[in-house]
C-alpha cells in the first residue's frame, strides 16, 4: 500500500541534543528537498544520489540559510517506510527544528500523525507481525495524549482564535448552503462580494496567526520559572541542580539582588529563566519583609511556579497559605527531601491544589528529570508560554493553518474567475475540515445544526 501523501516529523527525541533528524517520507520527498537544500556554495544540486550524505544549508523562502545540515536521500523501497525518504540532520534545539519542519510543510508535506512512520512501515510490509500490536497501542496512546492536549488548548489563545475563525467560516458556509437547500425561502442571498470580504478576512487572520508563530517568540524570550518556598527547603540546591545538568546561558545577570537570583538555562531546547526567591514567611522584620514582598512580586510575573515543600515535615500554616495564594497560578509542587522519612500530608495538598506533585530529592537527584520533562511538556503542548507573546503554536497547528490559508487562497481566486458560490463551498469545506482537526468537529454535522438553528426554513 503506497500512500500518496508525503509526511514529515522530527525523528529524534525533542531536545537540545547536538543533532536532530527530520524525516520526510512519501512520493514528494525528493521534490521537497530539492526546493529547500543548497550546497555549501549556495547552489542547488543537479542530481541527488541515493544513500549519499550531502553537506549544505536548508534555505527559507527568501533563499536565506536557516541551518547548516547534512542531508541524505533514500530511495524506495529500501527504506524504513518503503517509500522515498529524505533525512535532514540539523542542529538540535527547537529553533532550527521548527523552522525546517515549517519549510518542509510549506513545500507540500503534511505533518505525520503519531506513529505514522511506523504505521506506513508496517502497512508497506517493512516490520513484522510481532511488532504490529505494539504499534497499535502506541498509536492509540499517543493520539489520546494528543487529543487531551488539544482539548486543554481549547482554552488557550490560539485555540480560541481558531475556534472563532472556524465559526465565522461556518456562518458563511451555512448562509450559502441554506439558500441552496431552501431556494424558495425568503432568505437574503449572500453576495459574492460579501463572501470575498469574509474569506479575505479569514485569510488575513490565518496569516497573522502564522506570522506570530514564525517569530518564535517563545523560543526567543523563554519562559519565567520562579522557585519559591520557605527557607531551607532546598531552593538553591534545586537551582544548582538544574543549572548543573543543563547548559547555563548567563550566570551573572546584572540587577539581581541577593534575595533573588536569576539563571538562564536551556532545558531540551526550551529557554528557561529561573528565579530563586527568598523564602515566603509572614514576618514583622522589616528587612526580611522586603525579601518576602520581592518574592511575591517575582512569583506574580512568572509563567510557572515551582513550589518547594519539605516532605519530611508536617504542613504548617504558612504552607497552606502559600498553596491558597497560588491557587489560580500554574504551579508544580515539589515535595523535596523525599529521601528522608515522609511526614507531609499529600492528601491535604491535593484538596487545596490541583497542581501536579513530584517527589524530589536534591541529595540523590530523585524527580529532577521528571521535573524537567514536565516543564518542557507544558511548553511544547502550548499550555505554558511567555505572558506577552501572542500565540504559541506547535507544528501540527502550523501545518493546519498553512493548509487553511492555501484553501482560502483557492476560494478567493475561484471567486475572481466567477465560479459560483456553491462550488467555492468545496474550498470552504476544506478549510473547515482542516480547522476541525484542531477543534475536533465534523463539518457536515456542525453545518446542518447551524442551518436549522439560525434560519427559519422548512414548510
Amino acid at each position: 500500500m503506497q500512500s500518496e501523501e508525503t509526511i514529515t516529523a522530527l525523528a529524534t527525541p525533542p531536545g537540545e541534543g547536538g543533532i536532530a533528524v527530520i524525516r520526510i517520507s512519501g512520493p514528494e520527498s525528493l521534490g521537497i528537498i530539492r526546493t529547500l537544500f543548497v550546497t555549501k556554495k549556495r547552489s542547488k544540486l543537479q542530481e541527488i544520489r541515493p544513500r549519499t550524505f550531502y553537506y549544505g544549508y536548508i534555505t527559507d523562502e527568501g533563499q536565506h540559510p536557516v541551518d547548516e545540515v547534512l542531508m541524505v536521500y533514500m530511495k524506495a523501497p529500501h527504506t524504513y517506510t518503503r517509500e522515498d525518504v529524505v533525512e535532514i540532520h540539523c542542529h538540535g534545539g527547537m529553533v532550527p527544528v521548527r523552522r525546517i519542519i515549517g519549510l518542509v510543510l510549506s513545500a507540500g508535506a503534511r505533518l505525520a500523525q503519531p506513529g505514522e512512520f511506523t504505521k506506513r512501515a508496517f502497512l508497506n510490509g517493512r516490520i513484522d507481525l510481532a511488532q504490529a500490536e505494539g504499534v497499535m497501542e502506541l498509536i492509540s496512546a499517543k493520539s489520546d495524549e494528543a487529543a487531551r492536549i488539544s482539548l486543554e488548548q481549547m482554552e488557550g489563545t490560539l485555540s480560541g482564535k481558531i475556534h472563532a475563525l472556524r465559526q465565522e467560516l461556518l456562518d458563511l458556509l451555512a448562509h450559502i448552503e441554506v439558500s441552496v437547500d431552501y431556494p424558495e425561502e425568503d432568505i437574503e442571498e449572500l453576495l459574492a462580494e460579501e463572501a470575498r470580504r469574509k474569506l479575505d478576512n479569514a485569510r488575513l487572520q490565518c496569516r497573522q496567526l502564522l506570522a506570530s508563530a514564525d517569530q518564535g517568540k517563545l523560543i526567543r524570550d523563554g519562559i519565567r520559572v520562579a522557585i519559591i518556598g520557605k527557607p531551607n527547603v532546598g531552593k538553591s540546591s534545586l537551582l544548582n541542580a538544574l543549572v548543573r545538568q543543563n547548559r547555563a546561558i548567563v550566570t551573572d545577570v546584572p540587577g539581581t539582588t541577593r534575595d533573588v537570583i536569576e539563571e538562564y538555562i536551556h532545558i531540551r531546547g526550551v529557554l528557561v529563566q529561573i528565579v530563586d526567591t527568598a523564602g515566603i514567611r509572614e514576618t514583622t522584620d522589616a528587612i526580611e519583609k522586603i525579601g518576602v514582598e520581592k518574592t511575591k512580586e517575582r512569583a506574580q510575573t512568572a509563567d510557572l511556579i515551582l513550589l518547594l515543600l519539605d516532605a519530611s515535615r508536617a504542613l504548617e500554616k504558612e504552607d497552606l497559605e502559600i498553596l491558597k495564594w497560588l491557587k489560580d497560578r500554574k504551579v508544580l509542587i515539589l515535595l523535596n527531601k523525599s529521601d528522608l522519612p515522609s511526614v507531609i500530608e499529600e492528601d491535604r495538598i491535593r484538596k487545596i491544589s490541583g497542581s501536579r506533585i513530584i517527589r524530589t530529592s536534591m541529595t540523590d537527584g530523585t524527580g529532577l528529570a521528571e521535573t524537567e520533562e514536565h516543564i518542557v511538556g507544558l511548553v511544547e503542548s502550548g499550555r505554558l508560554g511567555p505572558k506577552n507573546s501572542a500565540v504559541i503554536m506547535n507544528s501540527r497547528h502550523k501545518e493546519v493553518l498553512l493548509r487553511a490559508e492555501r484553501y482560502l487562497g483557492e476560494a478567493l481566486s475561484a471567486l475572481d474567475s466567477s465560479i459560483p458560490l456553491d462550488m467555492v463551498t468545496i474550498d470552504i469545506r476544506n478549510v473547515l475540515e482542516a480547522l476541525g482537526e484542531i477543534t475536533g468537529e465534523s463539518v457536515t454535522e456542525s453545518l446542518i445544526d447551524k442551518i436549522f438553528s439560525e434560519f427559519c426554513v422548512g414548510k
Binding site: 489520546d144 448552503e177 441552496v180 431552501y182 468545496i426 427559519c456
Partner: protein
Amino acid sequence: MDFIAGKYEIIVIGAGHAGCEAALASARMGRKTLVLALNLDAVALMACNPSIGGSSKGHLVREVDALGGEMGRNIDKTAIQVRMLNTGKGPAVHSLRAQADKKRYQEEMKLTLERQENLTIHQGEVESIRTENGKISGIRLVTGEVYLCRAVVLASGVYLKSRVIIGEFSAKSGPNGLFPANQLSECLKDLGFTLQRFKTGTPARVNRRSLDFSRMKIQPGDSTAEPFSFLDDCRIRDQTPCWLTYTNEHTHEIIRENLYRSPLYSGDIKGIGPRYCPSIEDKVVRFKDKKSHQIFIEPEGLHTNEMYIQGMSSSLPVDVQTAVYHTVPGMEHAEIMRPAYAIEYDCIDPTQLNLTLESREIGGMFFAGQINGSSGYEEAAAQGILAGINAVLYIRGDEPLILDRSDAYIGVLVDDLVTKGTKEPYRMMTSRAEYRLLLRQDNADMRLTEKGYRIGLAGEQRYQRTMKKEESILREMERLQHTVLPPSDKNESWLKEKGSSPIQSGLSLYNLLKRPELHYSDIAGLEDQETGKVSAEVGKQVEIQVKYQGYIQKQKRQVEQFQKMERNGIPDPMDYRLIPGLRLEARQKLQAQQPVNIGQASRISGVSPADVSVLMIYLEKMRRERKSSER
C-alpha cells in the same frame, strides 16, 4: 392449518412511494412479486404537499429514473407546474420541482402497477412476517391468509401504530383517515428490531373558492418545462400558478396565546419531529424576531378546489387553526376542508441495516422509506428502488448493488441512515453530499443508467440513449479543442459585443468557453457548419465540463481519496473485542454496526481517526497471517 393464499418470490409491504418503486423494480427484473397496500385507494398517496422534487430531492428523482424507476415518468405525466430552482447558482445545485395533480399521480402509478407483468397488487394488512432459519419464509395477513415468499421489502411508511393529533384530540389513525397498521410493530420487536418514535405533520387544505388571490403574489411555472425523466423530452405545458402570501404579527400573537393548547408544548406528543419541517407554532417560538413567515398556496390538482397551505403545518386545535389562518392576507375567509394535523409513528433504527437496506440479522428482509426514519416521497422512492433491486439480487444470489457517497445522492442517503442513524425524520439536502459537483441532476443518467442496465432494470432504449449522449459529449469536447478561432476583425467585434477581451493569436473554442462571460450557445454559433448538431442536453454537459473543469478535477481527487478507504474491506463478521488498542466506545459501536469497509467505519460516530488507524493495522495483520498460513 394456514390458508396458503399464494406463493411469490418477493413481497412488498406498502404501496407508497417506496413500495411502488420496490415492487416495480422487482417485477421488471423478472421476479414474481406481490405488493400489498392497506388501502388500494391510497397507492402512491401524497399525504403531505402535492409536489415532487426541489433542492436535492429533484436529484433523487433523476437518479431513481436513471436506474429505471418510475417516479420521474409518473410526475412528468401528471405535473401541473414545473420549475427549475437555483438557476442563479452553479449547475450542481439546479433542482427540478413540480406541482402534481395529486389524484392523477396516484391513478397513473396504480395503473402502472396494475399493468406490470409479474406483479400482483392486493389490499390487506400484514399481521406478521415469518422466518425460517433466520431467513424470510412468508407473511400472514390479519385476515388469515398466508403468502409464502423468499424476500420481503417492508415499506410501511408512517402507518405503524400511527396516531393523529389535532389539538386536544387524538386518534389511532394513519394519514388522511386511513387505517393504521397496529400489528407489525410487535412483530418487528419480536424479530429483534429496535424501534423509535417519530413525528411529522401537515397543514390544512382549504377551498380555493374562499381565497382572495388579489391579496397574494402569483408564482408561475417556467416557460419551458424540463422533464424529470431522461426518457421524456422537453415540452411546453399549461402551467398552473401557485400563490405567495405572508403571516403577520397578528398571526403570531394568536399562536403565542394558544401555545398551551398545542400537544407539542403540553407534552402530549412524544415523537421526535424534524427540524427542517417545523410547524408554524415552532417557527413562531423558535424565531421570535421574525415578523412574518411566507406561505405558499399550492393547488392539489386540476379537478379539485382543494389548496395546500405550505408553511402552516400545525397541531393546534381546529378553532385556533381557523383563527390563525384567517389572519393571513387573502385567507380572511378561508374555508378549511381538512384541518392540519400532527402524526406520530413507529420506525426502526436504520443502523440495523446493511448498505443494501437488508437487515443484518434476517436474510431477505429489506426496509425502505419512512420505516427507516427518513421523510419525503423522493427519499422513499430512492430507498424503494434500491431495496427492490437488492431483494432481487439476493434471490438471484448475485452481488448486491451498493451506491456509495460518490456515486449518487441515493448513496449519501443510505449511507447516512445506515452508518450514522438518525434522531429525527431524515431529509435529503445538497449540503449532505460532499461530492455534489459530480452528483448533478443533469448527469444522473451518465452516473447510474449503466448500473441499472447491467442488473436488468434499465431498459435497452434508456441505455442506448445514455451511451449516445456520452459519445456526443466526447466528440463535441474534442471538436472544441481542435477548432481554433483566429484573430480577425469579425471575431474581434464579436468578442467585444459579448463583453469579452480580444484574442492575440488563435484560441481554441475550448479555451474560449472557459471565459465566464461566454456560453456554449455563443460558441456553437461561431462555426456555421457545425451549428445545431448537438442537442441542448449535450451542449449543457459540454459547457459544465469545460467551465468548471478545475473544480470537477478537485472533486474527483477527493473522490479518489474517499474511494481508497471504501475499497479497504472489512470481513463480516468481525470480532472487534479482539482488537487491542481500540477505545471502548469505538469497539462497541463497531461491534454493533459491523461496517463493510474502513471508510464506513470512519463515519460511525464515536470512531476516531486513531481507532481507524488501529483497525487498519489489525486488518493488515490478519491478511498477512492468513497469507502465511496458506503457504
